[in-house]
């Protein structure tokens, strides 16, 4: 399990590092929000999940999507805007999804995934299954009203739903302590659900907390809340470097880097093991990148595809 956790984290880390390069080289359009530093959360949580469990993710979604099992080559192709991408080049980083694996999407809107996960959790119960749903969100999201509405619903309907708050200390430039009155776990507890705060830099700790919550949910005992304290080692998104926002110090970053989740978990493995996994991951990523680069770009003529499932195509911007 430790090796698996490390592998997942290493995959996320290297995927992200690769992505940053590709964005900076303009091989990937737009901006992406890196998960570097937070790998233990997605890896630990998803290690407790089954394939048929559902997750909803965030703008900072690559880690969750990889950890839930999405094909890295499909992700790479998506980000490079190729038709072989998971979303056929329609989604990109902020909307990447693999519905067949229960990944109901990254999301460009903070906290928007929470009620979607609640609906999926409810549907699992209706289907007579014991599957669960997990919604990931940041510390900034705890101040979005819809999250509270969802916590309440999950509470009254005893939904098999796990709220995972990744507290990385900031919403873009705004510090969590300044943004948040009271404590995050107390908010959740007020909805009558178990809420705990755990070390989000240690994937094994995250996994254990998740296992407790998932067991409760599968047993029909309702929702739980886990706050994972973590940190992002890089900017809010790839474009931040050039923006000079200056909301945190280099010292702070360095302090957190000492607790790099890859070091935390990797440090408990033999160096050989680490090296073997690293090599494995490297090969996977190179293959993915090659695959993506060789894949075709979409055709402008297909730009209106997928808008509606049925009925007439949407109208073009010029009439015939």
């Amino acid at each position: 399990m430790r090796r698996d956790l490390y592998r997942t984290m290493r995959t996320i880390r290297r995927f992200e590092e690769q992505i940053v390069e590709l964005v900076n080289a303009n091989e990937i359009a737009g901006v992406t929000h890196e998960y570097i530093g937070q790998e233990a959360v997605a890896s630990g949580v998803c290690a407790a999940l089954r394939r048929d469990d559902v997750i909803t993710s965030t703008h900072r979604g690559h880690g969750h999507v990889i950890a839930k099992g999405a094909a890295v080559r499909g992700m790479m192709a998506e980000l490079l805007g190729r038709t072989t991408g998971l979303n056929h080049a329609r989604g990109g980083s902020m909307h990447i999804a693999d519905v067949s694996l229960g990944i109901y999407g990254a999301n460009g809107i903070v906290a928007a995934g929470a009620p979607i996960a609640a609906g999926a959790a409810w549907a699992g119960v209706q289907a007579g299954s014991d599957r669960v749903a997990v919604c990931f969100f940041g510390d900034g999201a705890v101040n979005q009203g819809v999250l509270h509405e969802t916590m309440n619903m999950a509470g009254i309907w005893k939904l098999p739903l796990l709220f995972v708050c990744e507290n990385n200390g900031y919403a873009v430039s705004f510090a969590q302590e300044e943004a948040t009155a009271g404590s995050i776990v107390e908010r959740a507890a007020a909805y009558g659900m178990p809420a705990e705060r755990v070390d989000g830099m240690d994937a094994e700790v995250v996994l254990e907390a998740t296992e407790r919550a998932v067991a409760r949910a599968r047993a029909g005992e309702g929702p739980s809340f886990v706050e994972c304290t973590t940190y992002r080692f890089v900017g809010h998104h790839t474009a931040e470097r050039t923006m000079g926002l200056g909301y945190r110090t280099d010292e702070e970053i360095e302090r957190w880097r000492l607790r790099d989740p890859l070091l935390v978990t990797g440090g408990r493995m033999s160096p050989d093991d680490v090296a073997a996994v690293d090599a494995e991951v490297e090969a996977l990523l190179q293959e993915a990148l090659a695959f993506a680069r060789e894949s075709p770009r979409p055709q402008a003529a297909d730009a209106m595809e997928y808008v509606y499932a049925t009925g007439p195509a949407p109208r073009q911007g010029v009439s015939a």
């Binding site: 329609r90 999407g105 609906g119 549907a123």
Partner: protein, 325 residues
Amino acid sequence: MARMRYQQALAKALRDEMTRDEKVFIIGEDVRASLRGVSRGLVADFGRQRVIDTPISEQAFTGFAMGAALAGHRPVVEYQIPSLLFTAFEPIVNQAQKFRLMTGGQATVPVTYIVPGSGARLGLAAQHSDHPYALFAQAGVKTVVPATAADAYGLLIGAIREDDPVVFFAPAAVLGTREEVPDELDAIPLGSGRVHRAGDDVTIVAIGHLVRDALVVAADLAEEGISAEVWDPRSILPFDWEGLRASVEKTGRLVVFDDTNRTCGLAAEVLATAAEEFPLVVAPKRVTRADAPIPFAVELELALLPNREQLVTAVRAVLTKEALR
């Protein structure tokens, strides 16, 4: 032929479809008690898992419906008042509507959002009198505004069966109207307009409850020898442009009768498309709601809503204008 109220037709449609398809459920505020009658009695027959009362949490229950839809259900989400759609605008327009495109077709989101009682209702004032269907058409969400009980029945079933999100506006002004309906009611697919009354001289496009008024006006005008066609798009998006084109090709003249705000409303779209693409022989006209919130006093409210006299004037104007070609 049976007689049925518009809201009974909605209730029958929902009941029939819930009976036929166990994946259909209704969720919203007070749907067990059913303030507008759409879900009346359903909880007794289908239970609380398919007739779900929610806390006052529009954003969450709208998103919830999307999650359930992704997992295979076909939710019907009820909003007690039209402006609650504003509160749920993000999860409808930005999440449910865009999901299929964003995921490259990985999933469909078959959710019906219903407002049983949209538009002004005499004395409900500014925050309860909007009729915001043009907003959803602008945002690309399929949008239905049925005019009659039979259409309400057929289009609600059509909407529920759509694999895309659909916003369904049942105008407050017709909810209680009783009408003859055929014994056999059928589903109506979105995107097919309806000629309520055929005519040769002018096409009146009327939407929702205004169809009834347009028919009264057309009947009055017939006595003067004016032959007006009353055409109803039934769904705003998709819009049956071919149906409208056929009507305008025949009449060459167009008046649109629409109860959304004038600016960027549905009438604007119809006039624009007609001006650009259809063989109009004179300039078209529109009769719409004014560009203003509805004030409380009934005199003021009525002054801002489109009415029959305005329609008559507009029809006469397009008929007396000289043809251009």
